[in-house]
């Protein structure tokens, strides 16, 4: 059986117990779960929170605990792929390979333990969270939405936010540039509804695999990330014509209209602003299947939980592209301060003084969302924002080290942009290659640093204070 969300939480509770907090007090799904997460984050901690008693949208106590902030820590993402934080982007590239799924009988599929079809498929039985004050209502924030290309049969997987408009009624949002839209337009041309499934909750490696941006049969790539073929089984609505992950927590099967549009949003976006009200295609839910003791996985929009899941994918792609141009590139970090999309800190061991600007140009054109790039030397830790800004403060002169490129394609979710047209820029915060012309950075002798242990000098009580 594939690793799943249950097995991953068991692993965390056994091997990394500080990464999980269970909350036994009853909470409402509207705002209370996000409020508790925000207060925990304010203490600079990012544990997974498991709310055991949550009311569903009918106002009754749900059977399903809510899991939030699963993806809120790079350490956990790295752990889920069996690697370390600095090696995470490289691990993405290694795992981005095709391992086709295997079909299992429904009797072996834990996601078929509870099956509700037609009128019995009631979204209001789920503890669906409303996150921010101006959100139009409850949103499914974590689903990996699967849509098949009607021509090739390939499946696209994308995490989309989905507005819950009624007990069997959803409205989807997807960007015009998304592969989901590419497939949607093909169904629309054929005047057909779009069969789709929403995968709610699985092992973190599943979601990281589902977030790759390849135009291919993406469940194959999920297998690459999971290190074994994804087990799939027949859906309730389309049978063998649409296979669903056998060990997801919850699967929602639905048909998306290509002939109607309905209102959805405002919704809190990754830039931490509300996206405006807009039109999206409505969907009719045909079936909901789940594990008996399913976790309801939520993702907190605009926070680390949401931002970090995508960050290593973007970092991996950027790293690959820039390194092809400047081989001395050592690391790429998309910090949460730039919503893990808009800023990149890039570390390079440069061999000539033109490389940083080359890196800036290559990076800014490699991802439409990326807006600001800071290039630093190999002695600056790109994961430490204080060090990066120190390099900007002491190693850049903006009359010669600043790059500004107006009129580039950006994200329309950036409120300072003119729709999708934005001005991008970068800072070369590196020292000259000729170090004889630049002062030396202060340091304490390495021989002393390596032999000094705090335990030898500070009392246990003093150590606890640190």
């Amino acid at each position: 059986m594939n690793p799943c969300l249950h097995s991953y939480i068991e692993h965390l509770e056994r091997d990394m117990p500080s990464h999980v907090i269970r909350i036994k007090k009853e909470v409402a799904p509207e705002f209370e779960i996000p409020a508790i997460l925000e207060l925990v984050e304010a203490r600079k901690k990012q544990p997974v929170l498991i709310f055991e008693k949550v009311r569903n949208l009918n106002g009754k106590l749900s059977e399903l605990p809510v899991v939030i902030n699963l993806f809120g820590s790079r350490e956990r993402l790295a752990d889920a792929l069996g690697t370390t934080v600095p090696k995470l982007p490289a691990e993405f590239l290694v795992r981005e390979k095709r391992v086709p799924p295997v079909v299992v009988d429904r009797a072996q599929a834990t996601v078929k333990q509870v099956v509700d079809i037609g009128e019995a498929a009631d979204l209001y039985q789920l503890p669906i969270v409303t996150h921010h004050e101006m959100d139009l209502g409850p949103y499914l924030a974590s689903p990996s939405v699967w849509v098949k290309d009607p021509e090739t049969g390939w499946t696209n997987c994308a995490i989309l936010r989905v507005y819950v408009a009624g007990p069997r009624h959803l409205v989807v949002n997807f960007n015009a540039a998304r592969h989901t839209n590419y497939y949607f337009q093909k169904y629309k041309a054929q005047k057909r509804n779009v069969p789709m499934i929403l995968v709610m909750g699985h092992h973190p490696a599943f979601f990281m695999g589902a977030q790759t941006k390849l135009l291919t049969d993406e469940p194959d790539i999920i297998g690459g990330f999971m290190g074994e073929p994804l087990e799939v089984t027949a859906s309730e609505t389309w049978g063998d014509k649409f296979l669903v992950p056998a060990h997801a927590e919850i699967i929602i099967e639905a048909e998306m209209s290509t002939s109607e549009l309905e209102i959805e949003a405002p919704f809190g976006e990754y830039t931490q602003y509300y996206g405006g009200q807009r039109l999206g295609p409505p969907c009719r839910v045909t079936a909901i299947t789940r594990r008996k003791n399913a976790y309801y996985l939520d993702i907190m929009p605009g926070r680390a939980d949401h931002l970090l899941l995508d960050a290593p994918v973007i970092e991996a792609y950027l790293f690959n592209r820039i390194k092809a141009v400047v081989p001395g590139v050592m690391a790429v970090h998309m910090p949460v301060s730039g919503s893990a999309r808009l800023h990149a800190y890039i570390q390079v061991k440069k061999s000539n003084d033109a490389e940083p600007k080359t890196i800036i140009a290559a990076a800014l054109s490699s991802d439409f969302r990326l807006k600001h790039v800071i290039v630093v030397d190999e002695d600056v830790d790109v994961y430490d924002e204080e060090q990066v800004l120190w390099a900007v403060a002491t190693r850049s002169q903006w009359d010669k080290d600043l790059v500004i490129i107006p009129g580039m394609m950006g994200t329309r979710l950036d409120p300072s942009a003119n729709d999708i047209v934005t001005t991008k820029g970068g800072i070369d915060a590196t020292q000259p290659v000729d170090r004889q012309t630049f002062p030396r950075r202060i340091s304490i002798p390495e021989s002393v640093m390596s032999r000094i242990k705090l335990e030898d000098y500070l009392s246990p009580d003093a150590l606890k204070q640190l």
């Binding site: 602003y273 009200q277 807009r278 409120p415």
Partner: protein
């Protein structure tokens, strides 16, 4: 997203913004129903404008405002 168009809910009078594409859709179909994120009621800008015109007309506000 630089420019956002604010609309006011006729029921709770709070305002919020709509996206450019929805603004364009409203220009050709002003009867399109919107949904207020605060009070959750559906409304149309066309009906809101009709109601406002009616109230102004009945109360003589339209004349007085001239």
């Amino acid at each position: 997203m630089a420019k956002v168009n604010y609309v006011a809910c006729p029921s709770c009078h709070k305002d919020y913004y709509i996206e450019k594409m929805l603004s364009k859709a409203l220009a050709t179909n002003p009867g399109l129903m919107l949904k207020c994120p605060f009070c959750k009621l559906d409304f149309s800008l066309e009906k809101t404008a009709d109601v406002r015109r009616k109230i102004e007309s009945e109360s003589g506000l339209a004349k007085a405002g001239q």
